[in-house]
Each structure stands twice: as C-alpha cells, then as structure tokens.
C-alpha cells in the first residue's frame, strides 16, 4: 500500500459518493414532486366530485320547486359558484389547510358551462363541462345542438 494507491482509492470513492449523493438528491426532489402532484390531483378530484354533487342536489331542488329557468347556464353557474353546505365553517383544528384552488366557471352555450380548476399556481388543471340537460335541469334546453 503506498500513497498513490490511497490517493487513487480516495478519489474513486469521492467520485462515486458525490455521484450517488446527487442522484439521491434528485430522487428526493422527484419523490417530493410526485407527492405534491398526487395531493393536487386528489384535491382537484375531490373538488370536481363536490361540484357534481352540488349540481345534482341543486337540480333536484330546482325540479322540486319548479323554479323558472329561462337562463339555464346562469342557473348552473350559480350552483357551481355557491358555497356548499357546511362550507365556510371553521375547519377542524387537526385538519391541514389545503392549498388554494383557482376556480373558474364560464358559460359556453345556453345550458352548458365549463368548470376549470387549477392547483399549484396552474401546474395542475382539470376541467368539467356541465350541461343543464344532463341533470334534468330545465328540460327545454335539451336538443340544443343542431
């Protein structure tokens, strides 16, 4: 064993360690990104389901009360933008506050609106169309195409 051998061994080991550390750091970032993506996707999915439930409940209520629906798209928009039951209440102390979602509702046609949701500053997006006819809301808007 001489000095050259020790130096060479040290160099080899340092290079391998440095490369490995870089890969592990990259892996850590990748895992963190994957976890963030998963959380954002779950949050978007939950919000879409909640919106669907709101529209379904609103449509049932509208059918029961037989409200006037001369502007079905506005009715849908209102259902999609109104806070749901229990929303706005103080959250449970143990619940971690979810990252804010950007929610945009746009009217595309009579009886058709689009809900766009964004999470993570636009990194993750989902959209859903809502048709008044699909929910039996304002049956007169059916057959609207062609």
């Amino acid at each position: 064993m001489n000095l050259v051998e020790v130096l060479l061994a040290g160099l080899l080991f340092s290079l391998a360690s440095a490369g490995s550390l870089q890969v592990m750091a990259g892996m850590g970032k990748s895992l963190q990104g994957a976890a963030q993506a998963r959380a954002a996707e779950d949050q978007l999915e939950a919000e879409l389901r909640r919106s669907q439930a709101l529209v379904r409940a609103g449509a049932a209520q509208q059918q029961a009360t037989d409200l006037a629906c001369d502007q079905p798209a506005l009715l849908l928009s209102r259902l999609l933008t109104e806070p749901g039951p229990g929303e706005g209440d103080a959250p449970a102390p143990s619940a971690a506050p979810p990252a804010p979602l950007v929610r945009q509702v746009s009217v595309l046609a009579p009886g058709l609106v689009r809900l766009q949701l964004e999470a993570g500053g636009g990194r993750w997006q989902r959209q859903r169309l809502f048709s008044a006819a699909a929910y039996g809301l304002c049956p007169s808007v059916g057959g609207a195409l062609g």
Partner: protein, 155 residues
C-alpha cells in the same frame, strides 16, 4: 534499547505488497453506482406511472364531458335520432382533451328489465392508437321514448 537490524516497521513491511484500499474503494464505488442506478430506475418508473395516471384522468374527463354534450344534444330526442355530425369539431374540442378524438357512438341493446334506460357506448381515440370506452346511460320516458336526462356515465 538496541534494535536488531532485521526488524522492520509495519509500514515498511507492507510497502511493495498489493494493498486492500484500492479494491475496497472500487467495490464501494461499484455498490454506490449500482444503488444509484436502481434509484434512477425507480424514479423513472414513478414518473411513467404518474404520466399514465394523468392520461387516464384526462380520458375520464373527456368521456364525462362528452356525456354532457350528448345529453345536451339528445335530451328531448329519441335514441334513433343520434347523429354524431351534430357534435361538430368546435364542440368536441371543448369536451375532449388535446390528442383525443371521438371514435364511435353505438347504442347498446336495451335491457328488458329496465326499459326506462338506454345505454350508449362511447369510444374515444388517442394519438397513438390508444382507445378508451365508456357507457353513458340515459333515462327515457316510456310513453314517447324521449330521452329525459343523463342517468350515469362510467368507464
């Protein structure tokens, strides 16, 4: 104390003999590189799974939105009045995510047990020949056979 001339210090004894440090460092380097490559493989697998999940969600959203458009078109009509030409490219662009297009629409045979429901099989196609199918069920009123509302959509 006098030292005999044949005595050599341990360092002097090992000089000139093959050492163990270099092979050990080589082995450690190989182990570290191997484990790093395995981690890279795992990261790649995870990335691919994430991309695949994203594509699945996109296709599901497309099928859902297509069901909404079909309801907009079909409610108030009879099933036999289905005409995919009424779903023009502009409308399909609204419903289907980029890279997907409408493949096929086909009514399923009615179930005698539930004549108030009709089922439409919807197929969308991706860029690389990938296909996704869903079944959209509509409620229809029995006396006149007119479609009333969307009952359920599913993959």
């Amino acid at each position: 104390m006098a030292q005999s001339p044949s005595y050599r210090w341990p360092q002097q004894q090992h000089q000139g003999e093959p050492g163990f440090v270099l092979p050990l460092a080589l082995l450690a380097g190989l182990v570290l590189s191997g484990s790093s490559l395995s981690l890279l493989g795992l990261a790649l697998d995870s990335h691919q799974a994430q991309a695949s999940e994203h594509r699945r969600l996109q296709a599901n959203d497309g099928l859902h939105d297509l069901a909404q458009l079909l309801a907009l078109d079909l409610v108030g009509r009879r099933p036999e009045e289905l005409n995919s030409a009424r779903l023009g490219p502009d409308l399909l662009d609204l419903a289907l995510p980029a890279g997907w297009q409408l493949g096929n629409l086909q009514w399923q045979p009615s179930e005698p047990a539930d004549p108030g429901l009709v089922a439409l099989q919807v197929t969308i196609k991706g860029r690389d020949g990938e296909q996704r199918q869903g079944v959209v069920r509509f409620e229809r009123s029995l006396p006149d056979g007119l479609i009333r509302a969307l009952h359920q959509e599913g993959a």
